[in-house]
Amino acid sequence: MSTTRHHINRQRLRQARAARPEVVEIRPRPGTRGAAGPRGPRAAEEKASGPARPRPRRPWGLAALCALTVLLGAFAGWAHAEAESLRAEPALSNTALTDVARTSEVKGQVAEAVDRLFSYDHADPAAFDKAAKDLLTGKAVDQHRDLFADVRERADARKAVITTAVTETAVERIDGDRARVLVYADQSSVATAGGKAAAQQDDGVYAAAMLAVDTVHRDGRWLITSLDTFDRT
């Protein structure tokens, strides 16, 4: 790059010399200032040795400096834009797995919450209600009540104990204080009353359940805001 510039400089110098052999700008100025004594000879010297030299050199340096400024500024802007676009990568906004501590915290709390929310002991319905009160918020409250309305009635009638155990959890996404977790759980129920048929039907039988849970981090806890049981629509 510098060689090209030098080459152009040289060419222009040559052209300037050919076109205007004498420097007009430098000479008249000292005259206007009045201090003619030392300047006269100097101006003459310059004219003799290389008349066009001092003048074109300086503007070129300045131009180069300006060009450099523009280039550096352009690079700064471009690099900044590149960095921003890299940070805008959609994968980055999801910190599932990349934030190890938060990921395992969500997994642990959601697994515990699902265990409690989907287990029901006819002898201790208060525990079930407390779980719903502690762990649910927003529309999850209604969803949970609707899901369990029938189950609860039947369990009370048959004096059943429903136990849910989460077997697998995976965090789909964590975006700030919101997270979505996919949960696999096994459900079993044991009836202590009711017909023999009912007992046979239920006892020791595990039902496979899967659900996606939306959570929000509030007051140091992950609360469930929505339960998605993938109902057929």
Partner: protein
């Protein structure tokens, strides 16, 4: 020394030097900052890891869906897709059992289609190129007599990265009532 210098360089040419230099230095400062910021963003390990996570999940969901989709009228294409979606042991099993399986499906005249309900990565080893995914799946099977049945499956898949692409190396359903919650 100053006076002759001033004389040689007319003021109108000399004056903008200092501001120009200052501007250039400021620009250089910005450029240096932006450059290193860009470098940092481009070499962010978490970003690379997040990208791999999303790629593994996308490939995993697609592969699980592929392996649960099969049309008895277009067996070859379906089974080719199965083989293209898998690697390692699973790939070998599918290749070995291909003819038998094709015969069974042809006889049963079933059409299976699958839809991924939800999926997530549970483990990702970016260096080793291994990942584990959960995929909640709904498979619809249409039998020869036209009856349709839906079945939800809790799939567990293992992925291995080969030549930069994630492929399924193991696939199964989460066991029911087996292992206790861990």
């Amino acid at each position: 020394m100053e006076r002759p210098a001033r004389r040689r360089v007319p003021r109108r040419l000399r004056t903008p030097y200092a501001p120009a230099l200052v501007l250039a230095l400021v620009a250089a400062g910005f450029a240096a900052w932006a450059g290193q910021d860009w470098y940092a963003a481009a070499h962010d390990d978490r970003a690379a890891y997040a990208v791999q996570r999303d790629r593994a999940l996308a490939a995993g969901e697609q592969a699980v869906q592929n392996l649960n989709t099969l049309d008895h009228r277009d067996l070859d294409r379906g089974l080719d897709l199965w083989e293209a979606s898998t690697t390692g042991e699973l790939h070998e099993q599918l290749t070995a059992g291909r003819d038998d399986f094709a015969g069974q499906v042809k006889e049963a005249e079933t059409v299976s289609t699958a839809r991924v309900l939800s999926g997530a990565v549970t483990e990702l080893d970016d260096r080793a190129g291994r990942a584990r995914v959960l995929v909640a799946l709904r498979v619809t099977v249409r039998a020869a007599d036209g009856t349709r049945s839906d079945k939800d499956s809790r799939m567990l898949g293992e992925l291995t990265r080969t030549d930069g692409r994630w492929k399924l190396s193991a696939l199964g359903q989460a066991p029911v009532g087996g292992a206790p919650a861990g």
